[in-house]
């Protein structure tokens, strides 16, 4: 394979380079200072500046369907939107890391380094069109995550979570790689663009290819916690330090769905009715299971974890829609828009959980929220906004996310999936309302952590405002997403 690397390739991957270089600053500084941490605020500021630069570079140089590194990476609307959402979510999660008791330990520089490395992996993942590139992105992102989850000092749960995530993550990677091998065997290549147009036919004619694509999809189902491959999600989400959970639930999920979308958009679904049927059922099972399991959770993080499983089910509807349509842009933009709203509201919910943690081993239960509305009316209002948005009540962004997603599905004739989605949202309302009930209607003494949590508070308020304001201007945003995909 002859590889010509030109300036344009470098410019296109400049966001990754920038992120990587910035990620080195805190640990280099630590080495130069004789293994002493620089002030955490400085580290955080560096990381956020890095993220802003990366977002800027992604917007300026990316887009327009440019490819780099011999068609290994593509920079189109999906890359840009998903990349920006993931980086933004990563930045918000880092703000939480700065102030959460479980993550403000001695190794903050290393933590930020890992988070930034993971973000580099994410950017590779959102732009990868070669299945091996996808694999590299996935692994780069995940390896850093395994360490991040285990980094909490005391907690046994977090070690357990890390191990669980590591084993199941490796299992998913292995499945994925296995699938890639089959695809390579049947098409002689691993580049999605190469077999894009023939995928529908290949699925019908080549068993090998069908096997391959199935395993690739299964690998993704593990990563994005589609039932019944979701079993790790609640444990890992609960065990990891809350900011890391926020990071996983939003940034990681966004980019995993981006890669999933790219693979599905190869039109392999159009070719295989079986694959199509199976994915539909998986979506239904995921939505119902996630929502019903969340009802019985008392632990706040676990509840949101199950809710995120349910949201994966909704997103899968969008993925299927994009997969069966000749012009996937409509379904795909539904997915992107949904991820945008999902990232904001889930981050917000975890930010509140993070603020309620008073020590490293503190467990936040729903009942701990009693009296929160009296103690911190502003934050309680924010949490209400996040929960109503998660439940899909207008006029929040979450409602419009569901609206666009189901709209696309109905437009493609997947009416019954939309109906299932609606039925499971009704189940969802039940548990999303519970924290609101406890906050506003039960007496109690909920307090946020004693040390100041200004940065997290500011982020939370901004996210809540964004959910309301972006709800009203969701139309132009959606159109912008859709236009960028052509």
């Amino acid at each position: 394979m002859n590889m010509n690397i030109g300036l344009s390739d470098i410019l296109l991957i400049s966001p990754m380079i920038a992120l990587f270089l910035v990620s080195l600053i805190p640990i280099t500084a630590k080495v130069l200072r004789g293994n002493r941490e620089q002030p955490h605020a400085v580290t955080l500021a560096q990381a956020l500046i890095g993220i802003v630069i990366a977002i800027g570079l992604l917007i300026v140089f990316g887009g327009g369907g440019k490819t780099a590194f011999n068609n290994g990476l593509i920079f189109d609307g999906v890359t840009q939107w998903m990349g920006v959402i993931a980086l933004g979510a990563a930045g918000a999660a880092m703000v939480m890391m700065y102030e959460n008791p479980a993550t403000t330990g001695k190794q903050f520089s290393e933590l930020i380094f890992l988070a930034m490395s993971s973000a580099v992996g994410m950017l590779i993942l959102v732009s990868a069109v070669d299945l091996l590139m996808v694999f590299i992105g996935l692994e780069m992102m995940s390896l850093a995550l395994y360490l991040m989850i285990a980094m909490s000092h005391e907690e046994k749960l977090s070690k357990e979570a890390a191990l669980k995530y590591f084993i199941l993550g490796s299992f998913a990677s292995a499945l994925f790689l296995y699938g890639v091998a089959f695809i390579f065997g049947s098409t002689g290549g691993t580049n999605i663009l190469a077999f894009m147009d023939s995928a529908a036919e290949l699925v019908q004619t080549s068993r090998l290819f069908l096997f391959g694509i199935t395993f690739v999809i299964l690998g993704f189902c593990f990563k994005v916690s589609i039932a019944p491959f979701h079993a790790w999600t609640p444990d890992v989400y609960q065990g990891a330090p809350t900011p890391h959970t926020a990071f996983m639930a939003t940034a990681v999920k966004t980019v995993s769905f981006a890669a999933f979308l790219r693979v599905i958009a190869t039109k392999s679904l159009i070719g295989s009715d079986h694959l199509f049927d199976i994915l539909q059922w998986l979506a239904v099972i995921t939505m119902i299971l996630g929502n019903t399991a969340a009802i019985i959770q008392n632990n706040f993080k676990r509840m949101i974890a199950y809710s995120s499983v349910a949201h994966s089910g909704y997103l899968l509807i969008g993925i299927i829609t994009a997969g069966v349509s000749d012009n996937g842009a409509f379904g795909a933009s539904g997915v992107i828009f949904y991820l945008l709203s999902y990232a904001l509201m889930t981050l917000g919910a975890f930010a509140i959980a993070s603020m309620l943690e008073r020590s490293e081993n503190h467990i936040v239960n729903v009942d701990d929220l009693a009296g929160f509305a009296k103690q911190r009316p502003m934050l309680a209002l924010c949490l209400t906004v996040f929960l109503l948005s998660l439940a899909g009540i207008p006029p929040t962004l979450g409602f419009f996310g569901k609206f666009y997603l189901f709209n696309a599905a109905i437009g493609e004739g997947l009416l019954w999936l939309a109906i299932w989605g609606m039925i499971s949202s009704v189940i969802g309302v039940y548990y999303y309302l519970r924290p609101v009930v406890v906050m506003y209607m039960k007496e109690g003494n909920a307090e946020v952590a004693s040390h100041s949590l200004n940065a997290t508070t500011v982020t939370t308020v901004i996210m809540a405002l964004a959910i309301i304001v972006m709800g009203f201007v969701s139309g132009p945003i959606f159109s912008a997403v859709e236009r960028s995909l052509f």
Binding site: I393, V437, G475
Partner: protein, 517 residues
Amino acid sequence: MILSSIVFLPLLFALIVAVWPKSNTIRHLALGLSLVEFVLSLALFRQFDPNSAGLQMVEKFMWIERFGIQYFMGIDGISLWLVLLTTFLTPIIILGSWTSITERVKGFHVAMFVLQTAMLGTFLAMDAIFFYVFWELSLVPMYFMVGIWGGARRIYATVKFFIYTFAGSVMMLVAIIYMMYLTQEATGTMSASLLDFYKLKIPFVGGTFFSLQTLLFFAFALAFAIKVPAFPVHTWLPDAHVEAPTPGSVILAGVMLKMGTYGFMRWVIPLFPEASEYWAWLFMLIGTVGIIYGALVAMVQPDVKKLVAYSSVSHMGYILVGLFAFNAYGMTGGLYQMLNHGISTGALFLLIGMIYERTHSREISKYGGLAGVLPLFTIFFFIITLSSIAVPLTNGFVGEFLILLGTYQAEPVFAYFAVSGVVLGAVYMLWMFKRVFFGEKGELVKDEHHPLHDLNAREIAVLVPLVIMVFWMGLFPNHFLNYSKASIDYLVNNRSNYNLTIVEPGATSTQHAQGGN
């Protein structure tokens, strides 16, 4: 801009109340603001042309262009009175809650104003998604109102209320999206405008359940029936009413239930004419069962608030029957009864709240002989009771009479059964009145340590406007019906070919006479 101001001013008021620094003047502020809103809504009459059936004072612009979703408001003879009912009841409720809401006063008024915006928006929105946003938004403040200021089982009641009504409306959302695609098929561009929906001729194959029109009809009808609430999906209502604080009950009975019957008039009947006609028997049956069932259950309630709550099920059943009679009498009666029920039941809940504040009990058996102790209260209660059981000269009579007349014309069988509700209504209300106000003095009334005080000036000020309305609407129904006549006639006569037009400002009614014929 008048409609937008009417809808969104309360939202602004909510913000003003939320940031108002002095907590002891919040009630005065809120009352003042709600009166401003009421006066503003009266200005509708200056512009409203009663001879036109078209959509007036329209404001619209594209909101979400990709899907043809518009910011689209308009008013006609059907929504006019519901808007006024909302703005009229709000100051009364705020004044009525003066002493009953003592905790988190600021939050209460914020919720009240947000709710007002949501309800007014529901009545005025002419775009399906725009409508849906208001429709669902109204759940949120009501949820807080019951959940925070309600009684002992408030959490159970409020969650039940929320989930019932939310569950009802999600299928409506699917149906709306589906209809947006139908507009795309029909005209090439997607639209969520109600006017474009009216133009859709959705296929209906008589008898088969799975004809498209039937399915869409039921998706909408379920949402509205739960809100009404029609038997057998009414069970959230007694819970919500009993647990809600007085102002919550008043707004719930007074306005929110009307969102359901309004939905039938504005959406279900003109959008799905054949299906409505085909299934009319079902809804008349549901309405009739509701009338009798509600009345019978009300009769045996030991709790006076629960009694009134079940009487709502009965009264709302009338409205449903009237609407599905599909003639001018039934429809007019249905609309009139919506207003009547808002006023009489609202007043009943206020009265119950007043006596509850004094005795902290609503159990009928603990009262008795109240007439001798609280004469003024008794008079007011009596007038409202008469209105509730539809005695001639009161507003209730006009509504029930028209409904029964219309029902008799359409389906005499249902009229025979529905009329029994009139008798039953008189039985449970008068029997309750007798037990509470006459006879032996009950244990609460006798209590020497806590002598009961009759109504004070504030309470009289709360009740007088309602009593005035009872007689005004009872004696001069034409003052009100004239404004709705054109719209209702048009709906009745052109149901299967409903095509609401937009009346340009300044145009004379003769140019738009198509609405009137």
